[in-house]
Symmetry: C2
Amino acid sequence: MDEPRLAGVIAPALTPFGAHYAPDVDRFARHCQGLLRAGCSGLAVFGTTGEGNSLSLAEKLELLEALVERGVPPELLMPGTGCCALSDSLELTRRAQALGCGGVLMLPPFYYKGVSEDGLYRAYAEVIERVGSERLHLYLYHIPALSQVPIPFGLIERLLERFPGELAGIKDSSGDWSHTQALLERFADRRFDVFVGSEEFLLENLRAGGKGCITATANIQARALDELFRGWRGTGAEPLQGRITRIRRIIERRPAIPALKAVLAHCAGDAQWRTLRPPLVELSPEQEKELLADLEAAGFALPSPSANRPHEGTGSARAYRPR
Amino acid sequence: MDEPRLAGVIAPALTPFGAHYAPDVDRFARHCQGLLRAGCSGLAVFGTTGEGNSLSLAEKLELLEALVERGVPPELLMPGTGCCALSDSLELTRRAQALGCGGVLMLPPFYYKGVSEDGLYRAYAEVIERVGSERLHLYLYHIPALSQVPIPFGLIERLLERFPGELAGIKDSSGDWSHTQALLERFADRRFDVFVGSEEFLLENLRAGGKGCITATANIQARALDELFRGWRGTGAEPLQGRITRIRRIIERRPAIPALKAVLAHCAGDAQWRTLRPPLVELSPEQEKELLADLEAAGFALPSPSANRPHEGTGSARAYRPR
């Protein structure tokens, strides 16, 4: 019950693909280790940004085990384990728990729409009960724009009532600060940790008692995010939040996952990072060029395209580059 | 290229669950065999009605293999093989093809919304190319209310151009007859088979050159649907279509899958059929009572609740009962 819990900047790590769109274990592990070195407090692998739902159960298990084998501390991992099929969610959550993962981030089953609160309760309760570990830290994943299945407050209430130790918190990707505020107020005294799904609200969330953010741009601006997390009480927090939000705005004007992979490919001089699994597709060369120009104009330090070796960048919003 | 193709009433068979929501292979096989005896021309297992997305890959493979082992002719099977993960769609389609299935019904990857036509093309093309069999009959599954990812006409055009042998048709669950008509007209000379996802449009579809229907109520009114399919040119077709549509209306006023399972449980005297995998939940006893009363009032022959043994029913819209 008093296990330490994840807090801070949790990176929803991008997943690299190779030939035939196969996940690339080595690049993935290197990227994850790099994100931790860049200051991330944890790794929410297999999230929306990581194309988690485009991976099979076997692929996710292989990648997760590979991270732990290669020395990523399992307590820093918060894999996405919520699938459409109860059996998949159960197996993945069980395995994550057995590996000692710090948490799991669980989408509701998302194929059927307009499902009842009872049905969602059963979906979560069945997994928690059958995993059967008081050390489980389950985070709900509220992302209605993609899942089309919101997490109602009544569901949180029921799950907290029944599983006060296991239900650890929520990732709120509603994109609506008033929703996050309502969550923070309603569950303020319940040890229910709220992470925002957009770095735009990181400072507000920390000020209001939230625990951090789980956000796509952690893949490219981990250092700046971590600096804000550690220094949110300081005078530099507001301008830093402003710089962070500007980067987000640039990314979100494009298809975000292809945009982030393009930045990573460019910064690492590694074209393979541009590959996405269908149904996602990479940016066109023109789109990528405009994106990089926009980032540079915003003061985001990019290595010169001709530079092959790692480039440190400058400024607090400098890019993280995989090694 | 000249392989016979599925046509008529294809039943999206319901999937029975036992303890801990495990799929019940024996009941499933008996139900499927019963549907074929009741006149169905094929079985679209693992569809929306069959809670296909609530099953893991391993569970679907096991159920599919069990059907074939127990003598269901594979050429009558059209399993749902479209998953969020390309790797799952590929493995399931490949296995279905190896077993000799008459077709596969493929949802687009449905987690990401607003994806490009290019991305959808890649998702389907990658599976077709890697299965690599000219005997594959792939049916697209257009069900925008649930998948939230429609199948655009431009995508069909591109797939037909590149894979004229493999792309066999579509299940149109738009619920919009003008959409089905547009499909029939646009691809009239392309050997592209159109099935409606609602029995409400069965007669219209057959008159306009469509091939049949793949519809939830085939689980309980297979005989009537088959009678309409075989006799659609006759004078009895209109009134029969009217009776069939009345049954659909009664089902669709409720959560349809729980309602169908309740009818099956009642008719078979087998309470286990009431179980649904979360996030779906069964009807309340009151809801079930009202449903059965509505069906009876519409002339749908239900066995008396006290009758334990199979009941033949009367009338053309009589219920199919699993044995």
